[in-house]
């Protein structure tokens, strides 16, 4: 086969040598724009897994690369004058120049034609080929030529960054966070030789403008960075290679091959530098492409197999990179965290590394996290401490013995109805020993406030008897505490049991509904009555009555439902609240009635017992209640004595649903907790203690709802 490779970077060279090695009969030419010894950039990093794949793919080049490696296994985090470090992350750095030299030599040794200083401006200029490999980088001519087919999409990051070198030898992958009068700058630095390191500086646009870096010359920029990092550089100098401040471009392409053309590395995809180098992905692409060509006779099949193998892997990597990039773009949110938690949050930012991973990699670091977490809770300086999930949570006078909350779903209901107080068999069967808090499902404050006829309630003497028995059972059989979740269904009331679907009105025996505005929830729903002041007084008093009954029943915590489109949520959202009186309009007015209910309940409920609330922190609809609104509401609720917020999303209307998946509410909880400074409770389909420990230690929530995972049979 006659193979032309456009681009003589690591991807092009490595794919050439691997393909030639597998079949020396191939006639391969690599065309590079620059001269043989010209390179941009400094060092590149590879993980131990990537290194192992190099070793399998071509031992000769691996051996030479390995001789040049600087290998380290620690990540240092410099934050607020402290240095935290976590080991076990085997990473190797190598100078880009050395890497290219090794690969070039190996290509020549195998008989590959290398054409340097050869600029191609039009693919028509290329001599005939059977296979064209586009390793021509982010600005790929090949991809641009067939853009209609490949469908590339480039998104620019919000932050500014610059790729510098330094004649400083680091002994760890180093994150530096430096605040000055202009803003916050972060550095990703790593060694790549015995004499030099890469220094990537990144900052938000505001800091960049404040520092005047938009107008600065190359030399001025370098001098600014030099003085910014003087302490860390310790006499060493930053170096520029015609380096410029840019926004990171993330490239995705819908397809990676077209007929006899394959995209490779940066020409097909890029991923934010904060979780690894593009060179790593590019060289892994090269390995996959070469082995696919070796496996399959038919070119079309081979290119297909290459794309099928690599694209999903790269997409997962890009997703993690996007998480990491978003983290660095919004890092100001976390500046209030203590250094230990800040470091843990940083290390787990992309979602690929969890609490258990870190503990496995560096047990000392993991145990330090455990001790730190426990020490924050009870002030003790223990030699060993349990994992965060087993740390108690203190809210006012209440001690919740662990960070696991169980939501009682639809099962208590039948036993709490008036006249049906036969107990609560479902709850009795649950192992409550490690559970911190049992949360009842939404319990109606009045018969009109029920979602379904079976909805549990707290408005009748017989219910009080049943609840008392339930609370007694929880208290007597375990250390778990129990919260009463009070709500009013509003316009989502008077519906059939949810086993039959959501929001389906009863066949008969419907009761009238209330809402902020007279808008039915779904097309089939009853039109609710707009609440007047008398109705507001009544509902407020019902909440207070239910709270008093809850106290009598012995509940430990009161949880008010301000979410999912129920009555109080309907006031908060501009999609459900179209009132033109003092309870509608701007956010402050829309939250007036929910706040009034909160205040009344807070006053009626014992001072030493906590009150929390569930909030749909976004309607997931354009023009609806947003996370920014939620942060504002959270601050007000906190000021009014709210001790914790549960983070929920959507269901304000049927058009707004979050993107479901494992931990789908975690990012929202992180944002609410760290921007509004309130403790949060979060669920979102969490089924393992590892997920929960990761959330807790990183400060993304304070208490987690765990789902009992279904055991497949």
């Amino acid at each position: 086969m006659k193979i032309t490779i456009l681009g003589g970077g690591p991807a092009g060279l490595y794919s050439g040598l691997l393909i030639k090695k597998a079949n020396p009969a191939h006639d391969i030419t690599i065309i590079e724009r620059n001269a043989a010894d010209v390179t941009y950039g400094w060092g590149v990093v590879f993980s131990d897994r990537t290194l192992a794949s190099f070793q399998r793919a071509d031992y000769k080049s691996y051996e030479q690369i390995a001789n040049q490696f600087v290998i380290w296994d620690t990540i240092d985090v410099y934050f607020r004058g402290e240095r935290l470090h976590c080991g076990g992350h085997v990473i190797a750095g190598v100078s880009r120049k050395a890497l290219l030299n090794i690969l070039q030599k190996r290509c020549l040794e195998l008989g590959i034609g290398l054409q340097f200083s050869c600029e191609v401006n039009d693919l028509a200029e290329l001599p005939a080929y059977d296979l064209l490999i586009a390793a021509d980088g982010i600005n790929s001519l090949v991809r641009r030529t067939y853009a209609g087919y490949f469908e590339p999409a480039i998104e620019l990051g919000k932050a500014k960054y610059i790729w510098l070198g330094a004649d400083k030898v680091l002994d760890a992958f180093t994150f530096i966070f430096r605040e000055n009068e202009h803003g916050l700058f972060q550095v990703h630095a790593y060694p790549f030789s015995g004499t030099a390191s890469t220094f990537l500086l990144e900052c938000d646009e505001a800091s960049w403008l404040n520092a005047g870096l938009d107008k600065a010359s190359g030399a001025e920029s370098l001098a600014y960075c030099q003085s910014l990092l003087a302490e860390n550089l310790d006499g060493a100098s930053l170096l520029s290679n015609n380096s410029k401040w840019i926004n990171f471009p993330t490239l995705k392409t819908r397809l990676w091959h077209h007929k006899n053309i394959a995209l490779l590395g940066d020409s097909a995809h890029t991923a934010h530098f904060s979780i690894g180098s593009g060179t790593k992905l590019a060289m892994e692409d090269a390995i996959a492409l070469a082995s696919s060509l070796e496996r399959h006779q038919d070119l079309e099949t081979a290119l297909n197999a290459y794309e099928l193998e690599r694209k999903p892997v790269v997409e997962v990597f890009q997703k993690a990179a996007a998480e990491s990039q978003a983290y660095f773009e919004t890092i100001k949110r976390y500046l209030g965290l203590e250094p230990m938690q800040f470091a843990f949050q940083l290390l787990t930012r992309s979602g690929r590394i969890t609490y258990d991973d870190l503990k496995f990699r560096d047990v000392r670091f993991g145990e330090t996290v455990d001790r730190w977490y426990m020490q924050k809770v009870d002030g003790t300086e223990a030699i060993i401490a349990p994992a965060p999930v087993l740390a108690p949570l203190q809210l006012r006078g209440l001690t919740i013995p662990s960070r696991i909350a169980l939501l009682q779903r639809a099962s208590i209901a039948r036993s709490i109805l008036p006249g049906r107080c036969e107990g609560c068999p479902e709850l009795v069967q649950l192992p409550l020993d490690s559970v911190g808090l049992v949360l009842t499902e939404l319990t109606a404050v009045s018969a009109e406030g029920r979602i379904t006829p079976d909805c549990p309630g707290m408005y009748h003497a017989e219910q009080l008897v049943a609840w008392k028995r339930l609370v007694g059972h929880v208290h007597n059989s375990s250390g778990a505490r129990i919260a009463l979740q009070l709500g009013h269904a509003g316009r989502r009331g008077s519906t059939r049991p949810r086993s039959e679907g959501l929001d389906r009105p009863l066949r008969k025996g419907n009761w009238p509904l209330l809402s902020a505005s007279p808008i039915p929830y779904v097309q089939q729903s009853q039109v609710p009555r707009e609440m007047d002041r008398a109705a507001m007084n009544q509902v407020r008093d019902e909440f207070v009555r239910a709270a008093r009954m809850g106290e009598e029943a012995g509940f430990d915590l009161l949880h008010l439902h301000f979410a999912h489109g129920y009555l109080l949520a309907s006031f908060l959202s501009p999609l459900a609240n179209l009132r033109d009186d003092e309870y509608g309009g701007d956010l402050q007015q829309r939250m007036r009635f929910p706040l009034e209910v909160f205040d009344a309940v807070r006053t009626a409920w014992p001072q030493d017992k906590p009150v929390s609330a569930a909030l749909s922190v976004t309607d997931c609809v354009k023009g609806g209640f947003s996370i920014e609104d939620a942060v504002a509401v959270a601050r007000v609720l906190k000021a009014h004595g709210c001790d914790m917020l549960e983070v929920l999303a959507g269901q304000t209307t049927i058009d707004g649903e979050p993107a479901y998946g494992r931990g789908f509410l975690t990012a929202l909880s992180d944002r609410l907790r760290n921007e509004a400074g309130v403790p949060t409770l979060v669920g979102g389909y969490l089924t393992t203690s590892d997920e929960i420990n990761t959330i807790l230690a990183a400060g993304r929530a304070d208490l987690c709802i765990m789902e009992i995972a279904r055991l497949d049979t």
Binding site: R409, A410, G501, E657, R662, Y685
Partner: protein, 288 residues
């Protein structure tokens, strides 16, 4: 996890005799269900008609659509047809609905393509009401009518499923893709406050035989999925072609919590069914 088999009704040129023989043989086991897929502008049999035919020569297997394009049908007609198959088969119908992916089917049916998502949501709740009220009859085996599944890859698909249906149908792919889908479906289900668990169904394609047989199977896949453009090749590459692949695939889906996996043939020949049955029996799957 139970394993069903698809009818070859989506393969051009399949004879009525083969459909009947296939259905009859599948009913003998070890399969738990018979599946059909849907497209309008194509040389294929209409799925509900096919299931009605299959119902006549079977007595045990569930009859499942994975999926039919709901919005192409008027709600009342679909409710009537589904209720009829359900009643005629003794309650064996499982109705999977989705919006489909081909505009040409909508154009041919004269149905608006843009509003298909909203239409499907509406249809799901309307079907339930029509069956429950049984004003149009016949009386379905269960008062609430046949189990309803929703398919489709959009994020709204999961919410739609959790809101109105009994479960989800995964369109295909390796087990780890299914695992992510299953997490999304379960997360949506719990968030909606539905009791229990969603039923999780999935489908895949197989072709068993020598290289030329497998190649013929791939060709069918590429033709059938040609409407997806370049993705047809990618779908064809996922074809299950040998016992090990099927064993691994089944185990992967089972571990990820799949309730029922329906394996569709890429070739119309009763020997394909026989070979699959032999593999499943060797894996210890009985006719139950």
């Amino acid at each position: 996890m139970q394993v069903g088999v698809g009818l070859p009704s989506g393969i051009p040129g399949t004879s009525s005799r083969l459909i009947l023989e296939w259905a009859h043989k599948a009913d003998e086991g070890p399969f738990s269900s018979l599946g059909v897929i849907d497209r309008l502008v194509y040389d294929s049999y209409e799925p509900l008609t096919t299931l009605a035919t299959a119902a006549a020569v079977t007595s045990r297997v569930k009859l499942v659509t994975t999926i039919i394009i709901g919005p192409l049908h008027a709600d009342v007609m679909l409710a009537k047809m589904a209720a009829s198959i359900d009643a005629l088969s003794g309650g064996r119908l499982v109705l999977g609905l989705a919006i489909g992916a081909r505009k040409e089917d909508y154009d041919a049916a004269g149905v608006d393509y843009r509003t298909r998502g909203k239409r499907l949501s509406q249809q799901l709740s309307t079907l339930r009401s029509l069956w429950e009220e049984s004003t149009i009859g016949p009386q379905t085996a269960r008062p609430a009518g046949p189990a309803l599944l929703v398919g489709g890859l959009s994020e709204q698909g999961y919410a739609r499923m959790a809101r109105y249906a009994d479960g989800y149908v995964h369109g295909g792919g390796p087990p780890r893709t299914f695992a992510r889908t299953a997490d999304k479906a379960r997360a949506a289900w719990l968030d909606a406050g539905r009791p229990g668990q969603p039923q999780l169904w999935a489908q895949a394609y197989f072709a068993l035989g020598d290289d030329s047989t497998i190649e013929a199977g791939r060709r069918y896949m590429k033709t059938y999925y040609a409407f997806t453009g370049p993705f047809a090749d990618r779908v064809a590459a996922g074809l299950l072609t040998n016992p090990q692949a099927i064993a691994q695939f089944l185990r992967g889906y089972q571990e990820a919590g799949c309730d029922e996996l329906v394996l569709f043939p890429a070739l119309p020949g009763i020997y394909q069914l026989e070979r699959l049955a032999a593999i499943l029996s060797a894996l210890g799957r009985s006719a139950r």
